[in-house]
Symmetry: D2
Subunit: 507 residues, 4 copies
């Protein structure tokens, strides 16, 4: 029998792996999403193992129940300064890393340039990010640039065990496995930081947990730390609050808001993943379907463009009159959700807001209407309102629920209202390459900056570096940049090597 | 370890389930594909169970090894006039049928209209098609219209066992299961036809095997048969050859070439499935990629439009100057494959031709180039030329092989050169609805046609019926057709109810 | 003061230059438009001189009032076998012809190939078409291929006098000028046909007037005539009627319905000219505008695609359910005109039907709504219903009228409901090149066809010739066609040189 | 004979109506274009009278040779405090203003709201802008809001005389006519400023000439002036330089860089005008043409999107790697100009740079290649290099020159390298409406700002006002904005009325 269940309690919890300190929760609840949307790369490995990536599948059979913390493992060189699920999986992981290397040309180019100079010589980097093949390419690049690294996972589910094994085998002190407990999580971070005879001088963080831990447990460590690089919306928000409160004691680089990263994480990536996510979950046909997209920011723009191109009829809702006018000029009817809710076949939220789709809206949708979320958090659709006794939930596929009204009407809810593209599609390596390159350059910049260039504040990546990240990815497309002549550079008042635009330029 | 193998022999065989008589093979080899491309619906259930559809997955555990032919089974009404894998799976199958009904509004509308009249009263239809939920909706519609039906599968792998069970439980004599042997295949067909006290007067065929069997074994049966409805390219080709040879002894309806079916099977469906197939297999990003599409027929047009919309740079090859000029006007560079083969990231064949991509082309492709086939048969890419000792094959995912050259270059070959959209994506029910409705109307037309309207020849579906199929699908889109006024109809010299176009109209 | 007028009587007449015999009018009125839409090239020179082409403008000053029939003119070689406005304009005309040659590569290629063989050697062609630079390129090509030509104009307004002069100067007996009277019109035709010692053996007609004249006055001439080539909808319709009545006494070639010509005259040309026509007349912005397009044939498809691409929101009306389903799949809401008439900013008719936009619709449109016609004839919008005393007409620009309701509401009517693209934009030479090449090839085919290939009937251009026309235009786009290998041709059962598709192929 | 000329000297001068002080020229030459591109509205009336707008054409016949400065004119109320070409043209001008009002709903809405309060009561505004119907709507709106206005033209050619007359007739002291001399130009400005018993307290400038004049002649006037609103790139640049030099003595508002204005002046407007400009000048077909667009800023993005949609094959050149990566992701091959210059049919510059297309490029272009400029200034194409004796220029239409090489090759140069969209197409009123509304709101803001809000510096329009301008234009599209609930506003940390985005948001 299909899996019928009434009132599912908290099917949500497995995705909310971000662990926050109680004392910080309040302020995050107050205003968590203003800056933009959460980094796509956040739960990547998780989603890919959930659903379609083959990467991790062949290792599931090797599962055993012993906690990695209780195991004695050594790599082939005899080191045991790591803690991973199973060091024997290293070969599989190495293979994944090699494949990723092929699609991360920018980092490979950085490695090549570093053969002469070692811009990170002397750098001792402690990192806390998702541990995936792409991260491994980043870490090994940092190594090639001269840095020493110690690493933990920023998410208790997202570690690819084989990749962690491969890194440990190569001599990286990695402390991470898939399925950590909360206690494991902090234990791993502590093992990265609290080590005799080694003290970090750079932090690479994704979510702010590592930074927080050092603040709390080892505040003196900051004396030697030259800077923090943070890539998540949440982590950046924490840093701005520290700065505002006068408590930020080293320079920090916000790499989340660089142009290149923003465009790829949002516009370009969502343009493709909305189609992918819908197809994989529902096998629906896009042509002729009526769709309403809530929100016309970068994510909404990407979704609308893709669906329009596939022959859907797209309506848009917006609160911001400027984005609304853009939607009009791009050929979308701007409506209130109420005006079209009875007629649409698909509802997609991309707002970063909460309760954009309410129970009232859900009650009025037509039979078979598909509802999903491409926005920031899982609050955009009021899924909680559907967990009531009069409605029946039926899980028809992985990530697909039919919610059935007493009169037989079914709503097709995807990923229980969590992010569709993280839950039901995968993130191309190319997008992660841009993020990783941005992180590497930010570390180099902060580590090498002359005294005084950066104060105890949060900085955006210098535009020139943003441009450099972009330039490193052009060869992928066999794209040939034009160079200014001296005369032209003078005419424009620009340096021939950039930056080419004022900071307020909108791209 | 990843699954490495040298020189895979005949990894192709499992898909070639189409069984042909030895004495016919020659002529098919001579000219198999001229008319168009094979019906999409052919291997649907197969592909969907292969890969992503949840439909069949919950029954795999109930497998047992006894042949259905050796089992004694009865449905709840005591009948045993059927042969399916396991009658107990009926409930699961019913559920699938109900879901399909929601997306096949045209057939449901036909049922409703049939409540008064029974246009198929007295019809005894023997059918041989894929047995899927959508076919079940068709069969139950035929029943509601007054027909008696007996059914076998046209493909030894494509039967959804649960659906077959549900049909048997409802009283349909169905003889089919997934994984028939060749002997089983003909046994099932024979059980449909060779039954005491019941003789078919209509044939619904998909591939021509049923028709062939009756020709060979029970030629006298044709005396009572009013007509044949055939939907596949191959079956239609067989019929035209019979007709040409003067051996066709009843009218036959070619439903493969109706406008609506052609556009949906090819242009509209491929526009979506090319993206879907590529994403599910490779997780690649489309933006900025260079793609060459071989062939600019309906399938090629769909592929090109979709990839262009997603930001790929698309080149086209063509042999036909008219299609070539269309490609130019639609904004694609028309090239010879040789001109771009070194630079492209993806090669897609949509020609119906053979050896369009040769070993020489494959040798010149760049590292990581993706090669796949959206065309008619599995001959478009010369895959056989890759099964040589110097090349290493690595299966990296289901349907994805890396073929590795001695210098380390990898080509990413999808579905071993078979049809990408059948192997790696699914076909929307909406497309199948159009096919099934066309079949039902063709049966009604042939069964009710006054003596003399159809002779012993192969006919296209009358345009008016083609238009009717289309009209039955408009409500899905809440689309409102305009009616001609009397004055306008007179002005145009048209009947207000159609047909609205001359036969040569190109749409 | 702006030009205000109440109730304009017959502002239409200047465009209706097509002269028909009274005895034929009735049947044309009955069913004029079924086959397709009128050839674009029909009124080209007229429209181009009307509005924006610079071509003819520099000669307007040389106007004099003497009728060309009363003038004595000789060309530089002493011949006076022609009748044009002013032989001294020949140099201007030659210049126009040279410019046109640059954009008619296919005819130039034909000339080159003809240097050896003369496929029209011995042909005596009498022609009646628009006399434009493009026609001149055609005529001189026919001459280069070996033919003798005599020519008249098919439209009393469309002759470019300078071009006619240039042709006369080069020795072509041309009888045509801009602004002929009806009597002049038939006099010119007669002068082409009725000449001592010369009798035509081929007819090239556009509209059927020349053919009609010979039928009526010189029926015996048909004994020597090998065939008729006709390019207009109207002329083709006349031929089919003659054929049906058993009165067609020579083979005729319908070049109007060849694939290449149809696609260019309709889909590709209208995709561009709808934007051009609207901009030149109204300077409106397309982005965000709501548009309803009546009819989703080739013309409608072109209009919809263009406007959607420019950011308009497009609704479609249709009577044919197949075209309607195409509109849905292409992403357009299918509505009845009534449903959207109050809200749209633009109404465009592309139906070939009459009274598609009625006075009732016009009454309900909102202020400033733009109404125009891209379809076949000037009957689609019921313009006559607007010529009533309570409405005020205001001519605000050439081809643009404001029709003002008593309450002040203004409707912007373009070209008084005549064809927008003929009246308010120009037709690219490239489109005319395709038509002219088709005509030349049809003449060659009919002239050289072995006895018996063509009977006394109306034929479509053989597909192979259609393909040849296309192939001659590919070099314009630097497009490279792929050739079949012998093995492939055998596999497909095709000749390597085409034809490549069955006749019913829809492209 | 066509107008042949060798070496045209300074065909450029008539467009360079911007008059600059000698002492400022140097710095402008040094770095004139960094900020963006010149305001579109600058030369609108000029271009529209040049070519296709009917607006002014009916008055050309009334030209007389007397200088307006020498005439004695009075309006119907007896005032002579104005100087226009001919006060009798007022009725024509009023009609133009009424038509413009229909398409400037935002200003009309402002007027309505002002019926109660008069936010500009007491304001004495001196303005120097183009004098067009749209400006008249702005001026009359300012009047309705309570302001007194005096106005001069910012361009010696751009005044619509009828509109100026209508304004004078309505009591606005306007000093402007088409075809002023340089002396007239400054005389008119002086007459606006230097008037007994009236002293301006607000400046609305377009180009900075008015501001400069007051600085130079009446510096004391600044004591009473509350602020300057400036809309041109050039004028804004001057203000930033004054500010940098510490010489700016009042607050100034840079309205050029507001989001709404930028998007409409560049992306949305150019998306349409590139097609319009090319069609009106060349009647070319876009389908299949190869085009290279130099620069992928907002203007380039608009051009590329439009041409791609029309079936052109588009290449892009860029100097900025971020924009380059955007071009790649949007589906354009990124090349150096040299790589494609031999093969393209059209070259379009959109860079703001100089000598982007050099003589060397021009030498290598193929025959019939079209060259035009959509960028900032007339320096992008090195037109000067074409004015050499070995090349022949032929003017084939207004704004279209053939430049002919000794071997017969012709290049089609549009508008002599000046801005195509200003020279050869028109700017929709809707775009001008956005600019005018922005100006009005900036005046209101500066005039009413509490002491201390603005210092002696250059400000961007507050985001909230930018959003307000957008919101006033939504009704044009029948667009319905969604309002935040209290709960949502709190969640997002936003005011329900905006601003909705941080200042660095890129849209």
């Amino acid at each position: 029998m299909p899996n019928k269940k009434k009132y599912i309690v908290n099917g949500d919890s497995e995705i909310k792996a971000q662990i926050q300190f109680a004392d910080q929760k309040q302020e995050f609840n107050k205003r968590p999403t203003k800056i933009g949307r959460r980094s796509l790369s956040r739960s990547i490995s998780q989603s890919s193992t959930d659903s379609y990536s083959s990467a991790a599948s062949y290792t599931d059979s090797s599962d055993d129940e012993t906690s990695p913390r209780d195991k004695q493992q050594k790599n082939s060189k005899g080191s045991s300064d790591f803690c991973v699920k199973n060091i024997k999986q290293a070969e599989f992981g190495r293979r994944e890393i090699e494949i990723a290397e092929q699609e991360m040309p920018a980092l490979m180019a950085l490695r090549k340039r570093a053969q002469g100079e070692k811009p990170l010589a002397g750098a001792k980097i402690v990192g806390c990010t998702h541990i995936t093949a792409q991260t491994a390419v980043l870490m090994e690049t940092l190594g090639a640039l001269g840095a020493q690294c110690r690493w933990a996972a920023c998410n208790i589910y997202s570690t690819l065990n084989e990749v962690a094994a491969a890194l440990a085998e190569s001599g990286f002190p990695v402390f991470a496995w898939k399925g950590e407990s909360e206690d494991d999580f902090w234990w791993c971070i502590d093992r990265c930081v609290n080590v005799e005879g080694w003290q970090p001088n750079m932090i690479l963080d994704d979510g702010g947990d590592l930074t927080h831990w050092i603040y709390k447990k080892y505040p003196n460590m900051f004396k030697k730390i030259k800077g923090i690089v943070e890539e998540s919306v949440t982590g950046v928000h924490r840093l701005y609050q520290l700065s505002k409160a006068g408590k930020l004691c080293v320079p920090a680089m916000n790499v989340n808001d660089s142009v290149t990263k923003q465009k790829f994480d949002n516009l370009y990536c969502c343009r493709e993943s909305i189609l992918d996510g819908l197809k994989r979950t529902t096998d629906m046909m896009f042509g002729g379907k009526q769709v309403v997209v809530c929100g016309y920011g970068e994510v909404g723009k990407g979704c609308c463009a893709a669906l329009k191109a596939m022959g859907s009829i797209v309506y848009v809702t917006e609160i911001d009159p400027i984005c609304a006018l853009q939607a009009c000029m791009d050929g979308f009817r701007l409506v209130k959700l109420n005006e079209v809710i009875r007629q649409v076949d698909i509802v997609i939220t991309c707002t970063g807001n909460k309760n954009v789709v309410t129970r009232e809206h859900l009650d009025r949708m037509k039979n078979s209407c598909i509802v999903c979320n491409m926005g920031h958090s899982n609050t955009e659709i009021d899924v909680a309102s559907l967990r009531t006794p009069e409605l029946t939930w039926e899980r028809v596929r992985s990530q697909v629920d039919h919610v059935i009204w007493p009169d037989g009407k079914r709503i097709v809810l995807l990923a229980e209202g969590r992010l569709l593209n993280l839950s039901c599609s995968t993130v191309p390596t190319f997008v992660l390459s841009i993020t990783a390159t941005t992180q590497a350059l930010a570390l180099i910049e902060l580590y090498n900056a002359p005294e005084g260039r950066y104060k105890q504040d949060v900085y955006l990546l210098p535009k020139k570096m943003d441009e450099y990240v972009a330039s490193l990815h052009l060869p992928t497309f066999d794209a040939h940049l034009t160079e200014l002549t001296d005369e032209q550079a003078k005419y424009l008042g620009l340096n021939k090597n950039g930056p080419f635009k004022p900071n307020y330029y909108r791209y």
